[in-house]
Amino acid sequence: MASADQFHIIENCLKCPLREDRLFCDLPDDVLKDLQEIKATSFYPKGVLLCLEGQPARGVFILCTGRAKLSTTSADGKSIILRIAEPGEVLGLTAVIGKTSYEATAEILEPTQANFISGQDFLHFLDKHSNVGMRVAHQLTHNCRCAYEEIRSLGLAKSVPEKIARLLLKWSERPLKVVKTKPTEIAIRVTLTQEEIAQFVGTSRETVSRTLGDFKKKGWLNIRGATWYILNKPALEKLTNS
């Protein structure tokens, strides 16, 4: 394994210890051998733009580790954060399969390893292996469901606190396992700025700041850098149900 910037790069998909945990990567060895032939592995620091909305699609990115922020521009010119892409996701599928431009801008949120596959190679790979088609179809189904869920929930939250509480509860579904917490606490890693959280929930940075301050005063939340501690999950749940 090569190492860059204290980050362990897994160059060989066949030896990747994470492959069974990833929907796309949990493929038979012969298929992974083909994948190994067509992918280029890179390490990206925080802030790098993997692809830009409107840019002609060059290929797909498989997020091996790390996360990326997917954003787009609304009809009224505002930046909207669509969602946070998690490890194992394939980015750029819609654009490559449809041979169009990227639908969203993908920005790296934390040190990330990603495999790039050119559009032509990916489409050939997709046609050659039915189990790749199956995984891609399932990921697209999931992505569609997330998009429609987002559409459905637009306007449902009555207040910014409720929207932020929803966001925190969603993030708490992926707690940090390496951080020691009390049984009632949940540690999460938040790499979004307050401005980005504001874009996520459709409000101003100042309102996000004020709301987080209120949550802290009430003893619901503790923020230590990028590690946030949800101290009172039932209170957040109650807020979203009120």
């Binding site: 787009t72 521009t73 609304s74 009809a75 505002k78 909207i80 669509l82 599928l93 819609t94 399969i97 449809g98 169009t100 639908e103 969203a104 997709l126 046609d127 039915s130 189990n131 790749v132 088609g133 199956m134 891609v136 179809a137 399932h138 697209l140 189904t141 999931h142 992505n143 569609c144 469901r145 998009a147 429609y148 869920e149 987002e150 559409i151 459905r152 929930s153 637009l154 306007g155 449902l156 939250a157 009555k158 207040s159 910014v160 606190p161 409720e162 509480a165 459709g202 409000t203 101003s204 309102t207 004020r210 709301t211 209120d214 949550f215 009430k218 807020l239 009120s242």
Partner: protein, 166 residues
């Protein structure tokens, strides 16, 4: 949904014999033998305007192939209905639900008299198991569906509020 007739319960369908369109967005991507196999289970129907082809919150029992006519695809949001119109020409509905075995997120309602073909979901799933190469075609269609969803999301009105927690 007042005035909407349920496709699968109330309407006395008429079977089309000669004017069935053989091509649609799914079949166009499949090998002839797979197309033929799917076609064996097709049921062609003509439905009137306001017929609900797929209902939100209900797992559809059929794939719906829209051969002719227009449908409205609508989603309930916190701010009301968000909808888009799809005009005939071989659009297939119910594919995502066939893969996920989940309920539909959208209502799909005929805007005028439509010619449709129905394929039972369980038949489609069985054929998918026999012919996994269909997945590559599904990926292409779902990719287009996702683009529609992302466009809707982009167009959707957003509310900002600065209310404090109670």
């Amino acid at each position: 949904m007042t005035g909407i007739t349920s496709l699968f319960s109330l309407f006395p369908y008429s079977r089309l014999v000669n004017s069935v369109q053989r091509s649609n967005e799914l079949y166009d991507l499949l090998a002839p033998e797979v197309r033929e196999e799917l076609a064996r289970y097709e049921e062609a129907k003509t439905v009137p305007a306001a017929t609900a082809l797929i209902r939100r919150g209900v797992p559809p029992e059929h794939l719906v192939i829209l051969d002719a006519g227009s449908v409205e695809v609508s989603f309930q949001t916190g701010k009301g209905l968000l909808s888009t119109v799809v005009n005939g020409g071989g659009k297939v509905f119910g594919l995502r639900e066939a893969l996920s075995h989940m309920a539909s997120e959208a209502d799909i309602v005929a805007l005028n008299q439509c010619q449709v073909k129905l394929i039972p979901q369980r038949r489609f799933t069985a054929i998918l198991k026999q012919h996994p190469e269909i997945y590559a075609a599904l990926a292409r269609l779902l990719s287009a569906d996702l683009k529609v969803a992302q466009d809707l999301l982009r167009r959707a009105p957003r509310k900002s509020s600065s209310a404090k927690p109670k």
